[in-house]
């Protein structure tokens, strides 16, 4: 196995961790805001690692740009949507969870 492959595998495993954490957060966190938090962070980082892993594998700049574009899009959209959702939740009168 080449070094790139090793790095890729490593990155992918890392991303898996983030995704699992995100899902766990989605399921286990007590309220909307927490879930939102867990989710966006975990997800976008997870995806970022996947993108990174694939970028290493790629052999052309085009592919790299494409991958980056996808990641950036998800990042921006995800962040904004998370923000909007949170705001909407607030408007709708959801109280943040307190212990």
């Amino acid at each position: 196995m080449a070094l790139t492959d090793l790095i890729t595998a490593f990155l992918l495993l890392g991303s898996l961790g983030f995704f699992l954490a995100g899902t766990l957060g989605l399921l286990r966190f007590p309220d909307l805001y927490c879930r939102l938090h867990a989710l966006t962070k975990a997800d976008n980082l997870g995806l970022g690692l996947v993108v990174l892993a694939l970028m290493i594998q790629s052999d052309s700049w085009q592919v790299v740009i494409r991958l980056l574009l996808i990641w950036l899009l998800v990042l921006v959209a995800g962040a904004t949507v998370a923000h909007l959702i949170a705001r909407k939740a607030q408007q709708d009168g959801h109280q943040p969870w307190r212990r």
Binding site: L69, L73, V76, A77, T80, H83, L84, R87
Partner: protein, 328 residues
């Protein structure tokens, strides 16, 4: 390929479970969200089946248009989770539910068993070969596009007709109403739109261009564009609303019209419907795809808006409130 098979298996089980759950769900909003998820997974299924064209379309529709359509519809239906006055007694059909289920499932299962038996017996080569042979003269380099825009262009023409017809139907039913609350558009949202819109346009162009030699094409591209238009409407961009009469209708109809004109021209010149001259095939297909993209984008967005634009012919109802929704 064991892993792939397990992937398929889990994907399909999830899909089926999702379908069942969403249809059985008592909360209609939940059903809609589940349906959006269903669309996501379905796109994965298309990918797995080696049909990226379909996956692209499913992604564009499922993630964008259908979701918007259903959410807007749900919003307009009001707090639609309640069956008014019908909760008290089961209807005839509901009582029939179990027998119906059995009646549906048994034939289906036997059909699957039949497939099991026969698929092994007869494996036809499909038309892959024929399409590949004829690809050179089709004016495009991608099989699906060749089938859509040339070999079976008649279907596509009629399909464009269905699209336009759907819009006319929608317009005949209702007047457009605003899609959203008039108030507060957050700067983040506007920023998002500012960022996404140009990308959407570029991606749409890219998908359209790519359709010539790889998965992509007019419909997918148009769907992306329409999502862009929707986004623009949602963040409160008021596109020219006053003068939308003829120009809007022209935009909506241009895809189908040009297709019809090409059909008529080919019929006049060659006696065969939609037989493009060899030298012109490529450019004709490009032309058709371009206008189709424009129309599809407008049509899908208008379909989500739902309703005809306010105009002088119809009764002067809530013109003011229709401004932001009555356009595309």
């Amino acid at each position: 390929m064991e892993l792939a098979l397990i992937f398929d298996l889990i994907l399909l089980i999830t899909l089926i479970a999702l379908a069942w759950l969403l249809l059985a769900s008592s909360d209609i909003f939940r059903a809609v969200v589940l349906f959006i998820a269903f669309g996501l997974l379905l796109a994965l299924a298309w990918v797995r089946l080696g049909a990226p064209d379909v996956a692209l379309a499913e992604a564009a529709i499922g993630a964008g248009i259908t979701g918007a359509l259903l959410l807007v519809g749900l919003g307009r239906l009001g707090s639609a989770e309640h069956y008014r006055g019908t909760r008290t007694r089961l209807t005839f059909l509901q009582r029939l539910s179990a027998p119906v289920l059995i009646g549906v499932m048994i034939p289906s299962i036997s059909l699957i068993l039949l497939l099991e038996l026969s698929l092994h017996a007869s494996a036809t080569p499909g038309q892959q070969g024929l399409v590949n042979v004829l690809l050179d003269v089709s004016g495009t380099n991608h099989g699906v596009t060749a089938v859509l825009m040339n070999f079976r262009a008649w279907d596509t023409l009629l399909e464009k007709g269905v699209l336009l017809l759907a819009l006319i139907s929608i317009w005949s039913l209702d007047q457009a109403r605003p899609l959203f609350r008039q108030n507060d558009i957050s700067p983040q949202l506007t920023g998002l739109a500012r960022l996404l819109l140009p990308i959407m346009i570029i991606v749409a162009g890219f998908v359209l261009w790519q359709g010539d030699h790889a998965p992509g094409g007019a419909f997918q591209s148009g769907a992306i564009l329409s999502a862009g238009i929707l986004l623009a409407i949602l963040v409160g961009y008021t596109l020219p609303t006053r003068r939308q009469g003829l120009s809007l209708r022209l935009l909506l109809a241009v895809g189908f019209s040009v297709f019809l004109l090409v059909a008529a021209a080919t019929l006049l010149s060659s006696d065969y419907l939609l037989k493009y001259p060899d030298s012109l095939a490529g450019s004709l297909i490009l032309l058709l795809e371009l206008v189709a993209t424009a129309s599809i984008a407008a049509l899908l967005a208008a379909a989500v808006v739902g309703g005809h634009p306010p105009d002088d012919l119809s009764k002067p109802v809530d013109r003011s409130s229709a401004v932001n929704g009555g356009q595309t």
